[in-house]
């Protein structure tokens, strides 16, 4: 099979597998949607009626096919709690999460590059501190980073409002001062984690003879980095970028909850705690779709290069 067909087949397979995992996890719930609708106190007869109404008495595979057909035709269903269409709920929340994710990636990419370079190839005095920062930064729970940033930038220096109640209906990017702390909370652990992964790849590449040659020829470090090292780490870096991007759809949950922003992560968490299964399934599938699409995109340039040079 040529690579576009193979990549497409792989993407479809991955999405199918992800949708099965997501459906099984949520369908394994001991109390089902009828319990939620009945408020936990419904009589058995009432429960049976609600189950029939929701189609919950049908076999698992039929319900899975219904769900997948619904998602593919653009109708993922309605929330059990509010009764509103899921598409509408997601559209309403997506702005905040996309803004957070894009800003966090924009901050973390240069920080990742700088940290990885400092740890692998920086001046000698900088390598140990950079390595320590990478190890510690990748280990810290996100909530600790959030607390440290609030304590430092908000409470001690008074730079940003600590908890950012975004006025309803206002787009997130209209109040950048509210976004600085959540964006840094997301970006710093990502940068440290990315640097921890890329550090090894960079150390591998810079040990190669052609990099040594370039150094001996007296090329400036920036030229060596861009022309000789960057192309070699492009594949793992794009892969990392794809996984990070998908991780952010669920990963914003902690930052959104701590800083009071109503985004997709917060929607997912609320839906989980209220057992709003259709919403959980849709948001989780959306996150998985972002990862799978990102992975396919990350694979594309490498595949093309491989086929071009047999």
């Amino acid at each position: 099979m040529p690579w576009p067909a193979r990549a497409l087949a792989r993407t479809v397979l991955l999405m199918a597998a992800a949708s099965v995992v997501i459906f099984l996890c949520t369908a394994a719930l001991p109390g089902d949607a009828a319990d939620v609708l009945g408020g936990g106190r419904a009589a058995p007869g009432e429960l049976a009626r609600l189950r029939a109404e929701q189609g919950l008495d049908r076999p698992l595979h039929a319900r899975y096919l219904d769900w997948v057909t619904g998602v593919l035709t653009g109708d993922p269903g309605v929330s059990l709690i509010t009764g509103r269409p899921i598409g509408e709920l997601v559209a309403q929340r997506a702005g905040v999460t996309i803004t957070l994710a894009v800003a966090a990636l924009a901050v973390s990419v240069p920080v990742t590059a700088a940290l990885a370079w400092a740890a692998a190839r920086g001046p000698r005095w900088l390598r140990h501190p950079a390595n320590a920062a990478v190890v510690a930064g990748a280990a810290l729970p996100q909530a600790v980073v959030a607390a440290a940033l609030v304590a430092w930038l908000s409470a001690a220096w008074g730079l940003f409002p600590p908890v950012s109640m975004l006025p309803a209906g206002e787009p997130a990017w209209s109040r950048p001062d509210l976004l600085v702390l959540p964006v840094l909370t997301l970006a710093l652990p990502i940068a440290a984690y990315g640097a921890a992964l890329l550090r090894g790849a960079i150390a591998d590449v810079v040990a190669r003879p052609y990099v040594r040659d370039a150094e001996l020829r007296g090329l400036p470090p920036a030229t060596i980095a861009l022309r000789y090292v960057l192309p070699m780490i492009a594949a793992p870096a794009t892969r990392l970028f794809a996984v990070t991007l998908g991780g952010l759809v669920a990963g914003t949950a902690v930052a959104e909850t701590l800083f009071g922003l109503a985004g997709l992560g917060e929607l997912l968490v609320t839906a989980i705690s209220t057992r709003d299964v259709p919403v959980v399934q849709s948001v989780a599938l959306l996150a998985a779709a972002v990862v799978v699409a990102g992975l396919a995109a990350a694979d594309a340039p490498r595949r093309r290069r491989e086929t071009a040079r047999p």
């Binding site: 320590a132 990748a138 280990a139 409470a155 190669r208 909850t257 989980i272 990862v291």
Partner: protein, 286 residues
């Protein structure tokens, strides 16, 4: 991380002096091991040395530190020191259980896949790769739908961490398959399983230990995230991560109520990560 294969011909091995990361520092392992051990013991047994009851209301909300209340009071006026001392036990126990489960499964699977190199093994490795495509926090959040919080931490760590362990151990085992000490044991007539347990596994103790540390850090991060999101122990039980959420708004009134649990989590995760890193660098793995 996979090696990057380029077009530059054979790659010379990286020599140790080129890279400070591969310096041998056995003493760092001992020191960091002692620090991590102390932190774990404190996290698990801290409740015993707490002066106050961790759930009793003893002062006005967010009272500043005072004699008898060294870290002040939290959002509801409970003793922060008592809550910090008691609030690490469940989180640490859950994380330890999750990390040990993920690591044990990954090591067993990795030894098997790396040794047998059969079609089944490759299929298992492929399935493990598939799991890596799903974000870890998402897996744990999905698990929380059906399972209680601690079980979800274990499930998330196993789903997200076991594939990584499996891959690392499988690579190391496959590389050791034709090493001299393995060939010698096999030619003595020892069985494959015995060689794996008595020769291959001890030879990779540093690798397995470093990997276990990474799983523990992952589990602590997951447990902290789930507990911050409200899927941890039910209030009023003390928990470091839940304390962060409870007290973040009172940072201007009593900063210690937020900083103390944050520092506890940071020291726990940081010391284990540093120990794991020093184990990996001692064995020249990083």
């Amino acid at each position: 991380m996979k090696r990057v294969n380029g077009s530059a011909g054979p790659v010379p091995p990286v020599r140790a002096e080129q890279d400070v990361v591969t310096e041998r520092r056995p003493r760092a392992v001992l020191v960091l091991g002692a620090v991590s051990g102390t932190v774990l013991v404190l996290a698990l047994g801290g409740e015993a040395v707490a002066g106050h009851d961790a759930v009793a209301i003893v002062a006005p909300p967010w009272s500043r530190p005072a004699p008898g209340l060294p870290l002040g009071a939290d959002a509801l006026g409970r003793d922060v020191l008592a809550r910090v001392l008691a609030g690490g036990r469940d989180l640490t126990l859950t994380s330890l259980a999750a990390a040990l489960t993920a690591s044990a499964l990954g090591v067993a699977g990795g030894l098997w896949v790396g040794w047998s190199r059969g079609r089944l093994g490759r299929a298992a490795a492929g399935a493990a790769d598939l799991l890596l495509a799903l974000p870890l926090l998402l897996l744990a959040l999905l698990a929380v739908v059906a399972l209680p919080g601690p079980a979800a931490v274990v499930a998330g760590t196993v789903l997200g961490g076991t594939p990584l362990t499996l891959r690392v151990v499988a690579d190391a085992t496959a590389a050791a398959r034709h090493a001299g000490y393995v060939e010698a044991a096999l030619s003595r007539g020892e069985r494959g399983g015995a060689v794996l347990l008595r020769e291959v596994l001890p030879a990779h103790a540093g690798l397995v230990g470093a990997d276990l540390g990474q799983r523990l850090v992952l589990a602590v991060q997951l447990a902290a995230a789930l507990n911050v999101l409200g899927f941890g122990p039910a209030p009023p039980a003390p928990d470091w991560a839940a304390m962060l959420r409870e007290n973040l708004q009172g940072l201007g009134l009593n900063a210690a109520a937020t900083i103390a649990p944050a520092a506890a989590l940071a020291i726990l995760a940081g010391s284990v990560a540093a120990l794991s890193h020093s184990l990996a660098t001692r064995d020249g793995l990083s």
